[in-house]
Amino acid sequence: MSNDRKNEALSPKTKTRATAGSSDRRPSPLSSHVEDLEELDEDQLAVLLELRPDLAEPAPASMEELESRAFSVRSVLRVLMDADNSVLQVVQILTLLGDKHVRLADVHRMAGEGTEAAVTQALEWLGRRHLVVAAADDELCIHPSLLTVRGAAALGPPAGEMVERLTVSDLQSVLQSIGRRASAGRKAQLVREVHAFLEDGDAVRDLVAGAPAEVRALARRLSASSEPVPLPWNLASSPYGRRDRRGAVDAAVWLIGHGLAYRDTWLSAIMPREVGLALRGGHPFPADSYARPGVELAPLAEPPAGALEARVVAVTRAVERIVECWGSRPALVLKSGGVGVREVRRLAADVELPERDAFRLVEIAAAAGLVVEDTHREIVLPTPVADVWLDLGLAERWWALAHSWLEMAVHPSVAGALDTRRKVVPALLYAPDTPSAAAAQRRSVLRTVVELRHGHLDADAALASLASWDAPLAWSDTFVPAPLLVRWVLSEMELLGLTVENAPGALASALVDGDFGAARRLLADPAADAWDLILQADLTALATGRVPPQVRAELTLLADVEGRGSATVYRFGESSVRRAFDAGRSGEEILDFLHAHAPKGVPQALAYLVGDVERRHGHIRLGRATCYVRFDDAALATEVLRAKKLAKLGLRQIAPTVLVSDSPQHSVLSTLRACGYLPVEESEDGTIVRAASGAERASLDRHRGGAYVAGAEDGTDLRPGCWGLNAHGTDTGAGAGAGKDRARALAGALVATSAGGPSSASRRASALGRQAAPVELPTLLRRPQGVLPGDEDELFELLAAAGAFDDEDEEHLDEDVDDFGEPPGGAGFGKELPGAQVERPSEIARTPAEILRLLQLATEEDWLVRMSYTSGAGKTYEVAVNVLDVSGEAMLAEAAPRWSEQKYVLERIGWVRVLTDVEEELAW
């Protein structure tokens, strides 16, 4: 910034002020700052935004937004983070002066002699950031937020209220002890007098000078800080006018008694600001504290460019490896957060870095956005940004890392350090998105190191003192001792190549100045990006230098990495080359790639290896299929493949006489049958599976009922004895006991079925009817109760009753049942008797002849049909019907859903199809 701009920053805004109104009406400070901002032209605004980057980010939508942002405490705090000690002291003086408008002379007076230049410089610094505005020639307008941000020079609070709190007698006692005549006037008068004394710095100093030695020592201590002093408990109740028997006086009590300290709490007292200031000689800070401390460190010779570059290459390569490692195997996140030491240790071994440096680089890589935690999967892995980064040149890659490091909000060295429980702090544990002091601390160290040309770890204390003078706020509240922080930052600088053997290089200067161009010039060695690939007859490859990511990826696909370091050693093998073929490369592509990138050529052995693998790759192929269809002749296979009706099966031809399908085997079978083919099922050993004949049975061993009929599966070892019949002395013959046995078995089956989950009564019934029930059971179940028994006991009663029936009784029951009529859902029962089953046709009848045939069949078999029908009114609709009779040109049928009897003209039926079992059940 130029000098005239500096001056301008503090020049009075007379023109606006003069026109704004009369001299007695001062504008409010805030509005003055608003005006101040509003008056800035474009260039000035640009300068401001450059000095206070937080104002520009995110870009403010309007001037109003910029103003409100500029006046926020947060923004002011951000500015002061970068302020040096001298500026902060001036800010504190402004706070002590306490007014929003202060006179320049007052500021200088309080700062003391010999500080004029520093104070002016500090005010200019603040002025450039528009925190202080010159209101008139010798008057400053202070930004209100500035007055709130910093405690006043470690001085206590103003005396005002403290004095007010004293009683009249205490006030009189104080006045007496300081040798002033205690007027008997009103309290206000006494208070004024005490105030007048406290304001008189010389009087306070004289008083203390004459006090006992221990009092002087305590007074000095209290004036240096605003800390409270404890009071002796026995004197705390009334310190005024007290002295003990021997005439000795407690120092604190002396101060209180002389009005130089006031009770803060019951057992402590503090010194008011006025007294502290007076004891400091009227100047809150010593004059020499405005100057930067001198540090004696011999500058180190600048490291050679080659060494810098080696570091830069090493660090970028290490980060590349981190991206590579975590790209292929992301790091797991600990339950308690962060990447644990075990993961980082493994990474360090892979990347060949010391463990601490691995921690640091992980943090820096995360700060640069190269790796990030996927919170859903609880892993840390590279981002797409990493791919962009990998494609950059050396200088760009390094700059991205170094700049991210400089700006990052955590100290990368925290990760990997030991915490208070002596445990290693995981990486990526803290991710504050708010600006923190870390960046300011780091910047101040970097600046100091660059300035002194010295970054030796042993100089940590000296560097810390300088760095903390340069940015006291940044260093004020840190849990970590400043020298340790400095050591951390120095180690990080060494890692990043900013220093080499403690000597800062040109890259450090470039980073401080934010001069990427300079960094690029320094790292512009074309050799840095040079690379080479050597292939050898022992099937190894050696890649040196900066191999482009695509080439590296391809090599990693083609060969296994055998050794890493400055060069990567790859080994080609059958499995690695196969991997490339699996990834879709052809032999020609692989050899072209190798020829293109290996200047020394491809050894014959490698070419043969690729050729061998290519020759054998894919000789065996496999795929997934649910079932196969095998034919005796290819023609039939082709016919089936082309059949449109079979298209839904998704048949694929894998050999002239073999088709495969992803449809389930039974549906392929039934569909083929439905289309008129005569397929048979093949078992695993190639024999033909015979269709089960006769009634089906539940496989009982898997059901609870199996306990009762152990060994009953083949029907040879049915031992009704276990059903309890023997207990009754009944013979196990097929006679009277049979019904009961069956009932018991069925009960088991039934319970097992219901145990599978809640099912409707109708489903239980159908389970019985289809799987296990001979004809008696449905009839049995159609008892007057009309419902199925819900629980096992009830069922047993029912079935036991059935067992007690003799043959006549059973017949009687049958008759009985008939009387109850067809219950809903009962239709399925007697009509689906095993052995009486006719395959339901699945085709749709469209021609009159077909329709007639299908309707007749449906009548015979008592199937429901669905048909399209055009009414006499010309309206076409679909309906499910139970055909009762087909005669001539019409048919009689019950139509869903009310099953009312209707007559349909056959001619008007568009199409007919038989409902499936399921549809029928649903229709009923």
Binding site: V500, Q536, S566, A605
Partner: protein, 563 residues
């Protein structure tokens, strides 16, 4: 830790790449490669030597060998920095310095008053060593803070234990002279000591014990003879087999003043102990019950020098014997210090550090050895052979692939070409029926383990003088000591044993011809069988060993021949 930023500034472009896993990659095409090799070979072991980049590895033993040879950490680090293309990792230099620094902190010395003592320049190291459980029983009373007496018989065991502890001791305790026995070299036109052989012998004699590393065919026997002549005392030579013992005997008779009566053979067949005794490892470690009678018999002699042939094959019990005879001079001979059983440290502590090593290329450049060119001929099997291979039991698979008849035509073509060129040709195989078939097809005599010795002698003689241009030999015959040299060898099946052995035998079998023509080794391999898998491994190994390696298709070969 050596801080030398100046060295880091060296412009990149050296022939060496130093990896942080302690391997050194040497790029041969670099103009400085030869000079660099000379320096790094002193402290790093050559691991692989394919055509472009050789891999050396720095191991503690290698570094200690270098230290024993007089190299210090500074010069090792300086070499690395000097030749490295990229900045050498500081951690690696620190590690090298640290490792080298461990050698010689403890010294075994012969104290005039106390006899054998262990002395240190670094007291904590002595304390650490003296407290180690493995070392306590080997030590005698403490003489002063820096010195502990050592029982003489534990000299070897102590050195072994110390190296395991990571503090290798320098043995300066000297040697007994042994019973003198005059031995002289007989140099003439047909045999003169080569320069490097003389240097190797000198280096050994100066130190008294240690290993001389020379590549196959570089004349290790000559080095041993030179050493024997210098020491001139009773000598025990331990060799790998009776065959080798006889080979040694022949050489000794031919090139030294020793007569038949002075050379004894101590083997399964004969038990002679003479001033120079050749014993096989097998007989030395032969047990009778819990005793090692032969080892004891040999240990009782007052040898002035013990020569260990092929140190890398030295069986473990011989180490035990060696541990007991540490006061004798010991010369180890080998082509490689790498042992398959990882007992390199025992070689170091018991035989001694590497005393001499000459780069293979140097000897090659002097024209003493030349590698054979290796060609793998891939034969595509006929369909029925492939089916036979597919149906073979796993145990028979190799045989099914290796003895495929399709190979015969290829072998015939190769033989025809070789004979036409006047090259003596050996056909080597493992399976007798295959060899018989080959013999019939090639009209060549077949020589197997069953062949009578007289017949064998006759055939070899005929082969040498060129009467029989092609000889079909089995694997058994291959171990015969008097197997004549051939300039073409065709392997139809089987391997020679371990990969290392195979390479060595190759080297021995295929010496360069006097007119400088290269020897050829053909390996006929059935494609897509496990025959090829074995071949792949061999190919890798041979390529690593620097043999030029080529693959050709049988079809192409036959086509060329036909053309």
């Amino acid at each position: 830790m050596v801080n030398d930023p100046g060295a880091m500034a060296r412009p990149a472009g050296g022939p060496l790449i130093v990896q942080s896993d302690q391997t050194l990659l040497l790029e041969l095409d670099h103009p400085d490669a030869e000079e660099c090799r000379g320096e790094i070979a002193a402290f790093a072991e050559l691991e692989r030597s394919p055509e472009h980049v050789h891999t050396y590895r720095m191991t503690p033993l290698g570094l200690w060998n270098a230290r024993a040879a007089g190299l210090d950490a500074e010069s090792v680090c300086a070499s690395l920095r000097r030749w490295s293309r990229f900045c050498v990792p500081d951690s690696l230099l620190a590690q090298v310095t640290e490792t080298i620094g461990r050698y010689g902190r403890l010294v075994l010395e012969d104290d005039p008053r106390h006899g054998l003592v262990l002395r240190t320049s670094d007291r904590p190291v002595l304390e650490e060593a003296a407290r180690a459980k493995t070392i306590v029983p080997l030590l005698g009373p403490r003489l002063d803070p820096d010195t502990i007496s050592v029982y003489r018989e534990h000299r070897g065991r102590l050195k072994q234990a110390l190296i395991k502890l990571g503090w290798p001791a320098e043995d300066r305790a000297g040697y007994v002279e042994g019973s003198p026995h005059p031995i002289a070299l007989r140099e003439d036109e047909s045999f003169t000591l080569r320069g490097y052989q003389r240097n190797a012998a000198d280096a050994f004699v100066a130190s008294g014990s240690g290993v001389v590393v020379l590549p196959c065919g570089a004349g290790k026997t000559a080095v041993a003879m030179a050493a024997m002549a210098k020491v001139s005392s009773r000598t025990l030579i331990l060799v790998t087999s009776t065959v080798a013992a006889r080979q040694w005997r022949t050489e000794l008779l031919a090139h030294t003043s020793l007569t038949e009566d002075e050379i004894g053979e101590y083997s399964g067949e004969r038990k002679e102990i003479r001033p120079v005794t050749l014993a096989t490892y097998q007989i030395v470690i032969a047990r009778r019950g819990r005793l090692l009678p032969h080892m004891e018999a040999l240990s009782a002699e007052d040898w002035g020098l013990i020569v260990y042939d092929e140190v890398h094959l030295l069986p473990a019990p011989v180490f035990r014997m060696t541990a007991d005879i540490q006061s004798r001079r010991r010369l180890g001979l080998t082509a490689t210090l790498v042992r398959e059983d990882r007992k390199e440290s025992d070689v170091f502590s018991l035989i001694g550090p590497k005393r001499f090593d000459v780069p293979w290329r140097d000897i090659e450049a002097q024209g003493y050895i030349a590698p054979a060119s290796c060609t793998e001929v891939r034969v595509t099997l006929a369909d029925e052979e492939r089916m036979a291979y597919a149906l073979a039991e796993p145990a028979d698979r190799y045989r099914a692939g290796a003895t495929a008849r399709s190979k015969l035509a290829v072998v015939e073509a190769l033989c025809t070409a070789a004979v036409a060129a006047g090259e003596p040709t050996l056909v080597i195989g493992q399976f007798l029926d295959q060899l018989e078939a080959l013999g019939q097809r090639l009209h060549a005599p077949v020589l197997t383990g069953e062949t009578a010795t007289a017949e064998r002698e006759r055939l070899f003689g005929a082969f040498r003088c060129g009467e029989v241009p092609v000889l079909v030999v089995s694997k058994v015959a291959n171990f015969s000591v008097d197997l004549p040299e051939a300039s073409v060898a065709i392997q139809v099946s089987g391997t020679f044993g371990s990969r290392q052995e195979e390479a060595q035998r190759l080297g021995r079998l295929l010496r360069p011809k006097h007119d400088g023509r290269q020897a050829h080794f053909y390996s006929v391999v059935a494609r897509d069988t496990n025959d090829q898998e074995f071949a792949l491994r061999r190919q890798r190994f041979l390529a690593e060993q620097g043999y030029a390696y080529r693959i050709v298709d049988a079809e192409q070969l036959l086509g060329e021949r036909a053309g």
